[in-house]
Symmetry: C2
Subunit: 511 residues, 2 copies
């Protein structure tokens, strides 16, 4: 009996080691794919576009074929029988559970579709860049047509219960449902419009702009200094210049962030870098020795975004943060910031003003932009909206929400990179990130009441340590909603976020 | 009968397409491996070292496992039967011949060895950097020990007839033999020593140095200008800064070169960039539509080096070249080059002076450095020299050849990156490149007698066009020795190179 049990667990452990080995290989290839993409956005010469498409589609197809190997499926089924009941306190349970999830997804997709989609994305990206520059939707339209058709095919292969959009949403936010997102927006949108109507009037009274001539070299200094100060490690990372900022984790010891610069307004780069460094902190603090297993991976895009928005907005746009950093900024930009005090400065960087471009939006209007895209994507993916009708529908929705007329498609439906990458289902994770960030920070403040006081002295380590324990080190132990429940003690809701915004603007302008 | 023949050729073409497809995948993965290496040398943060080793070894093992697939071997055998007699004028013959060569090599090597070696190389590289900085061989020794053991194992797996070193040499210069290289050096070394004894005295009379303070930004301008002028295409390439310059072809439309800069002497970067741009011209002009087949690949390291040395030395250190570029350099570095005339300048950049460092060596002593490494590597690989005895043996050989005492290992056996990459067998290709470059240029001048005159006017296109036809567009149609015979009308020899050097110094200093 004893012997048999021993043999059984030896077998299990051999199986588990084989699985780890198999997924480690896949993880190294995926991380190589991320380097190909990073290089494409940063340093690749223009002539390399087509070849890069070939590299990416070859590697994607290969990863897919490795993921769906029959032996992997057998090992997973066998292991799952044995660890299913252990629950998420067991590392093996978590890893097998999540491996099964991605294996299960992959086996549903034919390799040709994966290869075709990854090739089409790279080509479409180029067309989108051109279309956006020319504000000419027709350049992008045939590519988008193709990506929509392939994405709908993909959704059908993946399967769904209620809403075809669920199949794609689940790729970015495992377990999340369209109906949940609709429920969130149903409360969030009126709440935001309410805050907007007040804050818009109040903040328009703040006349002064932070405009001038801020040398890029000095901007680089303060951006790097801030990122380092909040804990982003430059010996395990980089900061590069790109057109569309992003962050990427190549692997343990190598997480890269990017930004763009505006010579007229240094705060653009600063908030961009804080945002990406927020992502970077999460990536740099994932368990290195768990690389290749779900316990060494981030939970979802929503949780990732909660980290970037937490540092960019909740910390980075706070009065306490600038009580520490404004004197430093004055030193780095001599004479440029002398006539603005900290209160004014914080009012300026928190100004609320509806605009056409999502990535330039303030904290209040930002999620209204996401709401628009969510509405549109549901229609596109469910086949209720033809690709050719996207520009008109976009403009109609935009006017409904913002009461402003979109001047051209480059400021409308061509503004975002996502669709050129067939990333339908991605946008809602931005809003999840925002509402999660407020819940997470709220929990942190309850645990550490003096937290914000420390920001005045440039002390961010307590918050990072807390996040390490609560989030970074957890890997994929919990799915996002569960993780939020663990951290905040209650299910995801948008009340905390609305309260945060409401009280922020009260503090800034008085009741 | 007709039908049967038709069917047979259809089958052949289906087989050929399958082979093309199989090797295209492998080629995309190999090109991804090159990007991983490029990134490692240019932009990777220090913390990424270990993860990069994992990426590279995973991808290397995968490529190896794809190369050795049984189906590939069967297809190759089947195809070879049918195209063997077509000779190298047939594209299919050439591709199948070379695919068989690399498949044949790969099947001899166990996957574990490939993976172990590629991992060990990445780790050893870090140790070598440290050892060299500290001039402490003991830091590198255990790693080198391992790499030598694995390389000897590799040579045994690959097999050889006369000399174990043949097995490794063949990896860099297909078909080349140790005995051939020995025969070349047997004539080359005395010839070089002869030229050295004269040129050394003469050139030591040239007192003036090109020393000053050359702003790096201006150096970048002239380096890029020269590279572009000789035909290197920056929309399909880049120029970056590294510790150990190299060039790499990611794929069609994406060839990258690198350099280092010396603020005191702008010619260091200029000749470095001309060297790498010479490699780059070859890479950029390989047939893009033949990517993934041997006809779209360079012949060998020796032929590649012939292109870099041709542009760096034969063109780049000529009087005609500087008659065009020195006035431009005077414009870029105002006041810095006014008191040196073109003849003086060319004497200075051609000064002959034995030194400890290969990469800083002049054209005469350079191949003596290579000779030393060739001698040493034969002893190491054949097991006649223990790794621990390398420093002493290096110093002994160096004194034999140069009559100078090596002051420390960083200026001795730790100076080159190659052994940290287990690249035993690589060095002789440098000397082949040098003697080939002279034969190729000699042939070009015979075809185009006014060629060098054109350099005075900045006209390099005729030479590039000629090289395109004779070399770049040929891919691997011929092995290196055959290619040289095709281009120069005679078998490889070192006489042309010695004549070139001899007459160069005669022209510079008179008889």
């Amino acid at each position: 009996m004893e012997l048999k049990k021993g043999l059984k667990s030896m077998e299990t452990s051999r199986d588990y080691e084989e699985l780890r080995e198999r997924f480690a290989r896949i993880a190294f290839l995926k991380s190589t794919l991320r380097l190909l993409s990073w290089d494409q956005e940063t340093f690749m010469p223009p002539g390399g576009q087509e070849h890069r498409a070939g590299q990416i589609s070859t590697l994607s197809a290969l990863i897919h074929s490795m993921l769906v190997e029959q032996r992997t499926g057998e090992l997973l089924d066998h292991m799952w029988d044995q660890v299913r009941d252990l629950g998420s306190s067991s590392d093996i349970h978590v890893n097998v559970r999540e491996w099964r999830r991605i294996h299960g997804q992959a086996v549903k997709l034919p390799e040709e579709l994966v290869e075709e989609l990854s090739y089409a994305k790279v080509v479409a990206h180029g067309a989108w860049v051109e279309a956006r520059a020319a504000s000419d939707f027709s350049i992008f339209e045939p590519h988008l047509e193709k990506l929509v058709a392939l994405s709908r095919k993909k959704a059908i292969y993946l399967g769904f219960e209620e809403n075809m959009y669920d199949a794609l949403l689940d790729l970015y936010e495992p377990g999340e449902k369209t109906a949940n997102i609709e429920a969130i927006f149903a409360k969030l949108v009126p709440g935001l419009k309410d805050i907007l109507s007040k804050a818009r009037v109040q903040s328009s009274a703040t006349r002064r702009e932070i405009q001038g001539n801020f040398p890029l070299e000095s901007q680089r200094v303060i951006a790097r200094l801030m990122a380092a100060r909040i804990g982003y490690n430059f010996t395990a990372g980089r900061l590069d210049t790109v057109v569309h900022p992003f962050s990427t984790r190549i692997g343990p010891g190598d997480t890269r962030i990017t930004t763009r610069w505006n010579e007229k307004d240094f705060t653009e780069a600063v908030f961009g870098v804080l945002h990406e460094a927020g992502h970077g902190l999460y990536s740099q603090n994932l368990a290195a020795d768990a690389f290749g297993t779900p316990l060494g991976e981030s939970v979802s895009l929503g949780i990732h975004e909660s980290q970037s928005r937490l540092w960019e907005n909740i910390v980075g746009r706070s009065l306490e943060f600038w009580e520490y950093f404004l004197p430093i900024a004055r030193g780095i930009f001599p004479g440029m910031l002398d006539d603005v005090d900290t209160n004014d400065f914080v009012r300026i960087i928190n100004r609320v003003k509806p605009s056409f471009i999502r990535v330039e939006a303030d904290e209040v209007t930002y999620n209204l932009h996401v709401f628009l895209r969510f509405q549109l994507e549901k229609e596109i993916i469910n086949g209720h909206l033809q690709v050719g009708d996207i520009p008109a529908r976009w403009n109609e929705l935009f006017e409904d929400i913002f009461d402003m007329k979109v001047p051209d498609d480059s400021q409308g439906c061509l503004q975002d990179v996502h669709w050129s990458g067939a990333a339908f289902g991605y946008f809602p994770t931005y809003t999840l990130g925002n509402i999660y960030s407020a819940m997470i920070f709220d929990a942190a403040v309850q645990d550490m009441p003096g937290l914000q006081e420390g920001f005045r002295r440039g002390e961010f380590a307590p918050l990072v340590e807390w996040l390490k324990e609560k989030i970074y080190s957890q890997g994929q132990r919990y799915r996002s909603r569960q993780l939020i429940e663990h951290v905040a003690g209650r299910a995801p809701e948008c009340r905390t976020f609305l309260d945060y915004l409401g009280s922020k603007y009260e503090r800034l302008y008085g009741k």
